[in-house]
Structures are given as C-alpha cells and as structure tokens.
Amino acid sequence: MAVPSRSTKERLLSVLDDLEVLSRELIEILALSRSQKLPQPGEDTQILELLVQRDGEFQELMKVAQKQGKVHQEMQLLEKEVEKRDSDIQQLQKQLKEAEHTLATAVYQAKEKLKSIEKARKGSISSEEIIKYAHRISASNAVCAPLNWVPGDPRRPYPTDLEMRSGMLGHMSNLASNGVNGHLPGDALAAGRLPDVLTPQYPWQSSDVSMGILPPHHGNDFALEPPGHNKENEDDVEAMSTDSSSSSSDSD
C-alpha cells in the first residue's frame, strides 16, 4: 500500500520541533552535569550527534523548499496560460454557437422559400390569363378615367345614384315603396326608376348588360378593345347632366 508522502512543510516543521527538543535537552544535560559535577556517560554526545543530524536535514529541506518555491512560480505562470486558453476556447465556442444559429435560421428561411416556390409553381397561371383579367377589371374605367373624360362628366369610377337606382336593388326598393306610397307612373323618374328610353347608355357598357344588372358585368368573351368614344352616348350624358339630381357632377 502506497503511503502518501508528507508535504515539505510538514517535514520542515517536524524537523524544527526535533531541533528545539534536542537543543533543550542538550542544554539541560549540560547544565545538570555542571551543577552536579557528574559526567553523563555519552548521553550528551548522542544528543549532540542527533542535533547535528537534524540540523543537516533541516538545511537540506530548506533548500528543497526554495526549489519548490521557484517551481511554484512557474506553475502559476502555466495556470495563467491555461486560463487564457480556456477563455479563447470559450470565445470560439460562443462564436460557433452564433454561427450555428445564423446558419439554422438561413436554412429554415431557404426551405420556406423553396416551399413557396413549389407552391407557386403548382398554382401557376399563364400571363395571358392575367392580362385578360387585368383588362376585364379595367374595362369599367375603375382604375383609370376614360380617354374622353373631361371635368363635368358625370361618370364616376363607382356606381352613381342613377346607376344604383336603375339596378336590381333600386327596382326592389321601388317595388316595395310603390305598394306603400302609391306613386304614379309619372313619378318614376323621381322614384329613381328610369324608363327604357332614358336609360343611360354609357360607352363602357357592353351589349350584354341588361337593365337590372349593375354595371359593369362582362361575360367570358369580353371585348379586348378599350371602350371607344360614342357621340350618341355623350349627348345622352349631356342631357342627363342637366336633369340629374346627383350632386357628383358638381364635385369637380
């Protein structure tokens, strides 16, 4: 069984204690022999030899202790080096963690983008259809005024009062109010229901538009040409603008 070696400090203190005890004993024996004037048979010599031996050990141990002190200084420097490298390794670890997080985010976003691309590819629409649709929603002049529009033109990009009243909702409300109020046919204009002759025919309306349907309504085979300038319709518009109770014409 290996005996744990004693530390240098323990050995030094032990030898110092021995030196103290031996020197005390030597002094006591010398004092006793002097006072009693009786020679001690070799005892003082033995103590003296032990004292010299212990003193030598003490000196050797102190030399060892000095060397250990220098080694201790070197170990402290090495410990500082180890700490510095530990700090560098921790810094690298932190940077690696940040890089991993950044890359993981980038990969996730790229995957999401790929999914969107695949989804778009599956639901792709031809450019012709998109252009046709754009024409369709633009033909009612809702996104751009007609080429012949001038200030004073009652036409608006939204249904006006006249158009609403000439539509299905207007007819439905007129039917209900005629039953209650008993309007005469001559008051049809006041009631908001226009006779067929006076129904405005705006250039942007196609031939498929019926009376009861709110403009604009186009079928699948719509005309791709933009609505053209119609003098007859313009006259109707001028006539209507003088009789219209709509305040929208004054808005310009």
Partner: protein, 98 residues
C-alpha cells in the same frame, strides 16, 4: 565535552541552528550571565523559522507531487494550444473559385 563541528558555510548559516547552540554552550562553559540571552536568541530563531516555513509558497505538497502537477499543467497548455491552432486554421467550407 566534545567540540561541536560547525561548518562555516555561508549558505547554511541562514538556516542552521548549530551556531546558536554553540554560543549557548560557550556561555555555559564561561559561566557567563549571557546564557539566558543566548537561549532567548535560539528560541526567537526557531520561532522565526516556523513563521518563515508557514509563509513559503509551494511547499504544501511533496516535491514529487509538485513535479507531477507541473507536468500536468505543461501538458494542458500544450494540448489546448494545439486545439486552438487546429480550430482557428480549420476551413470547413470549400470556397469555390470564381
């Protein structure tokens, strides 16, 4: 009484207690009144040595244990230096040439 062989080594004078013991014995031989003074000097010197020993660094271990610890520290420094050098010069990604 046998003479005390005292080596006059300048390095050993710092730690040796024999000169002080020799002085005490000389005073006793002369029946001098300085015996007590010399004895007090020896006691003070022993106490000084104890205090010096308690403050000396690096003697909490035996020399063998200390050497072992020193070797361990050197190995740690060497290994960590190699690792750092390896990871700092490592290029994981093959950068394509333009």
């Amino acid at each position: 009484m046998a003479a005390v062989p005292v080596q006059q080594d300048p390095e050993d004078d710092d730690y040796s207690l024999l000169p002080l013991v020799h002085d005490i014995i000389k005073c006793m031989d002369k029946d001098s009144q300085d015996v007590h003074q010399e004895i007090n000097k020896l006691k003070a010197r022993i106490q000084e040595a104890r205090e010096q020993i308690s403050t000396m660094p690096g003697i909490d271990k035996s020399p063998e244990e200390q050497q072992q610890q020193l070797q361990t520290l050197r190995e740690q420094v060497r290994t960590k230096s190699l690792l750092l050098q390896k990871y700092k010069s490592l290029c994981v990604f093959d950068i394509p040439k333009a």
